[in-house]
């Protein structure tokens, strides 16, 4: 007898069940009747239909998950920002002190402010890149034609 056949499954149960062992059951007849229920449905067609129905839901959900990731990513990246800004302000101040002892104050201020503007631009582009990177779909995420 096939180990994985439905009848084998019933037999396995009765062998393991003390109550079933006491009262022998017509397992072959039960299996024959149960096996007669072959569902009259086209499972593949049902799946195709379901796939079409669920596509929009899948896209909507993927979009929601994407936005959530972006929001979390931006929030996490913003957390250390005050510390970074404070450290840079301290550095700029130190550089200004150094430069102003060597150069005229106006020139030192011009150099430090130029550097500060450059740093600001750097920060802006870095933080703007974070959501763009987060929104980038992973390689495994693909869509198929309908």
């Amino acid at each position: 007898m096939d180990r994985d056949s439905p009848l084998a499954r019933l037999t396995a149960h009765t062998a393991d069940c003390a109550e079933c062992e006491k009262t022998p059951l017509p397992l072959e007849r039960i299996a024959a009747v149960l096996e007669a229920t072959v569902p009259a449905i086209d499972a593949a067609a049902l799946s195709r239909q379901t796939f079409v129905q669920l596509r929009s839901e899948l896209q909507r959900q993927s979009l929601a998950v994407g936005w959530r990731r972006i929001a979390i990513g931006v929030l996490l990246s913003l957390l250390p920002l005050p510390l970074v800004l404070a450290y840079n302000a301290y550095l700029l101040h130190a550089v200004y002190d150094l430069l102003s002892s060597l150069l005229p104050a106006a020139v030192a201020a011009y150099l430090v402010l130029s550097y500060a503007a450059f740093l600001l631009l750097l920060f802006a582009t870095t933080y703007a890149a974070i959501p763009l990177l987060m929104a980038h779909r992973p390689v495994g995420s693909r869509s198929v034609p309908a």
Binding site: E19, I41, T50, R55
Partner: protein
């Protein structure tokens, strides 16, 4: 080949190929389970609703669990809800092919009626253990009951089916 659990993870990112693959793997067992549970009624709706829930809750799926167990748990819950609605008259499945041979149709109806005579908890155990070949542990997990309960339900179901089969023959 990607595991079911891996494919569910990809569903969260909106991977349509993952959904298509999961549908392909489970279209037969799931649709047949629902068909037998409801006697062939509202299979399409329940099948789609099951997958809709899979897609919606994919992010919450525990990767340490088996996907099949989770899937059938959703289907069982939906079928239970369906049974709570007022049932229509027992009838042939709506798409019983006209070119079916008569004895085959009768056998199918007999088997469906036989299954429908079982109380719902016993029918579920038969459908999951007998037709889906899930282990008793998995069935217990799906039905959220102890393994011993699964065993006793299966025993009671077999006893009822045996009585019904004997009754049919007399």
């Amino acid at each position: 080949m990607a595991s079911d659990e891996n494919l569910v993870g990809r569903l969260v990112d909106g991977d349509e190929l993952a959904l298509r693959e999961l549908l392909r793997r489970y279209e037969r067992p799931l649709s047949h389970f629902i068909y037998r549970h409801t006697g062939g009624r509202d299979v399409e709706d329940l099948y789609q609703e099951t997958w809709l829930r899979v897609v919606r809750h994919a992010a919450r799926f525990d990767r340490n669990r088996r996907f099949s167990t989770w899937l059938f748990q959703i289907a069982v819950n939906l079928c239970r809800d369906w049974h709570r609605r007022p049932p229509p008259d027992p009838a042939l499945p709506p798409d019983s092919a006209a070119n079916d041979t008569r004895p085959a149709v009768e056998a199918r109806v007999d088997a469906l009626r036989l299954l429908s005579t079982l109380p719902e908890p016993q029918r579920e155990v038969v459908l999951l253990r007998y037709y889906q070949d899930l282990t008793e542990d998995e069935v217990a997990q799906i039905l959220d009951c102890p393994k011993g309960t699964v065993k006793s339900r299966l025993h009671n179901a077999l006893a009822r089916l045996a009585a019904a089969v004997r009754g049919q023959e007399q």
